[in-house]
């Protein structure tokens, strides 16, 4: 699927919801490698992908967020980065068919360049391997997501852009630091993130994770002001997680999130989906709200 052409045709696309919290509900244990499930629990991963297509997503992601060699080193799977990401893309491709799009997920390394724990060359190589594997597995785009540092995001975007033919999306995660002011953990504002992602060569920019839908509206507005032309992608958490009786609860219901879809589109969002804590029910409600708005 040509994502940019689909955007032109449909104006706003619906993306999928959470993978990590969904995998946990299917039995992924703390400390277990989520990407290994592409091999050991293929049906469970395929079921997640299918459930989002069924819920009305136009595009879905892949179970490869932590699938770069640097992060896989925790589990001793660095040398399997390529095959695990390729499998991730194959599974989502199978669920999506040719009518729906697949966004191949690349998350950060978990290391900070400034600390000297990892070199720029190591990061580039890890992201290159992953991006190429996602392309081989059938992804229609690469989405570098949950980034906080401009240097690392730039390397990820370039590694994907320079080594695949796919369009590249780059999304950052922000915290609210004061009224209407947002920064990543590394101190980057939405406007700075937008400019840096475009400078690195990203075809689409955006924001993901975070503390709920309402804040995403502010963040998208600020990114849109900094980048008037480029498509903006949003994957929002169902609010900030709270703990009730030892169970993690994400407080935003499907209808709460769906109610903010018009505001999010008006702020400038072009592709809307969920992140941690969102379920197929959330995506069904978001999809209905998007269809209503664009009808």
């Amino acid at each position: 699927m040509d994502i940019l052409a689909a955007l032109n045709a449909k104006r706003v696309l619906v993306s999928d919801g959470a993978w990590g919290t969904f995998l946990q509900s299917k039995g992924l244990q703390p400390g277990e490698c989520p990407e290994l499930w592409n091999e050991t629990h293929r049906e469970a991963v395929l079921d997640i992908a299918r459930s989002y297509i069924k819920a009305g997503a136009d595009v879905i992601e892949t179970n490869s967020f932590g699938g770069n060699a640097v992060k896989l080193a925790h589990y001793g799977f660095s040398d399997r980065a390529s095959e695990l990401s390729e499998k991730a893309a194959e599974i989502s491709r199978q669920a999506a068919g040719m009518e729906h799009g697949v966004l191949g997920s690349i998350g950060p390394s978990g290391k900070i360049l400034l600390m000297g724990d990892v070199t720029e060359e190591e990061l580039y190589e890890a992201f290159r391997v992953q991006a190429q594997a996602l392309e081989r597995g059938g992804a229609d785009a690469v989405i570098c997501e949950t980034f906080a540092a401009i240097d690392e995001a730039t390397i990820a975007v370039k590694a994907a852009k320079e080594n695949t033919r796919l369009p590249v999306i780059c999304t950052f995660t922000f915290n609210k630091i004061s009224q209407n002011e947002y920064r990543t953990m590394m101190g980057v504002s939405p406007a700075e993130a937008a400019a840096a992602a475009l400078e690195a060569g990203a075809d689409m920019i955006g924001t993901n994770c975070g503390n709920g839908m309402a804040q995403m509206v502010d963040i998208v507005r600020q990114m849109r002001a900094a980048a008037p032309q480029v498509p903006i992608v949003v994957h929002a958490n169902a609010g900030a997680p709270i703990l009730i009786d030892d169970q993690t609860v994400f407080p935003e219901t499907p209808s709460m999130m769906a109610d903010l879809v018009p505001a999010l589109i008006e702020a400038g969002a072009d592709i809307i989906g969920g992140c941690c804590g969102t379920t197929p029910e959330h995506i069904r409600a978001i999809a209905a709200a998007v269809r209503r708005y664009t009808a």
Partner: protein, 221 residues
């Protein structure tokens, strides 16, 4: 205040590591924490005064970080500058001429591999004058207990980034308190709250590294 202490504190606060360091741009070409610590000791400053400079600088950047006026990169550069100065104090720590305020045992809880937050707290605690024993990530209750056994009188810090792993903190606290009921334990991490800390029997909670150092200072006072 001793002029050296203030100069050193400024280098640590601004993250000026040494003369060659390009950061921060407005201090380019000036001496950094590395040169200043050496020069201070040579010109008769006591090692304690050099340590005071580090503590003062880290305290200032730690406060800015809590107030969202500085972010992770600034804190990291300050920690680098602090480490460069502290390297000159190593012989004095070893000889016992300079004493740290106490020992802080820190680790990320079992099942959790995230270490950025834990590392920041460890750096700020070291800059606050504490000896830090970093147990790493995915640390079991048994491993925490062993470290407490080996460092009598220490304070313990437990970190978790995930809502799914923060629940494992309770077991660590129970295990330590069973054998060492007097050991103060502070917890932190993105999903952790004061209410959660109270519920699982932690003695303290902080949303930022500076709060952890304030807790440490109170416990050793």
């Amino acid at each position: 205040m001793n002029e050296w202490v203030e100069k050193l504190a400024l280098c640590v606060e601004r993250g000026k590591v040494n003369r060659d360091a390009p950061w921060p741009p407005d201090m380019k070409g000036q001496d950094g924490a590395d040169e200043l610590a050496a020069a201070a000791l040579q010109s008769g400053c006591s090692p304690d005064e050099v340590l005071q400079g580090c503590i003062l600088g880290m305290d200032r950047i730690g406060k800015k970080f809590s107030e969202n006026k500085a972010f992770v990169p600034e804190l990291l550069m300050s920690a680098k500058a602090m480490t460069a100065a502290m390297n000159h104090l190593k012989p004095y720590f070893q000889s016992g001429e300079v004493k740290r305020k106490g020992t802080f045992v820190i680790g990320t809880v079992a099942g959790d591999l995230h270490d950025i937050g834990k590392n920041l707290v460890a750096m700020v605690a070291e800059g606050g004058g504490f000896e830090v024993i970093d147990l790493g990530t995915d640390v079991s209750a048994e491993k925490f207990l062993k470290a407490v056994d080996e460092h009598p009188g220490c304070v313990v810090g437990i970190s978790a980034l995930l809502t799914t792993t923060m629940v494992n903190m309770e077991k660590v606290i129970r295990t330590i308190k069973e054998k060492h009921p007097e050991t103060p334990i502070i917890i932190g991490g993105a999903p952790v709250t004061q209410a959660f800390a109270d519920k699982i029997g932690a003695d303290g909670y902080s949303p930022d590294p500076q709060g952890a150092v304030e807790f440490l200072n109170k416990k050793v006072a």
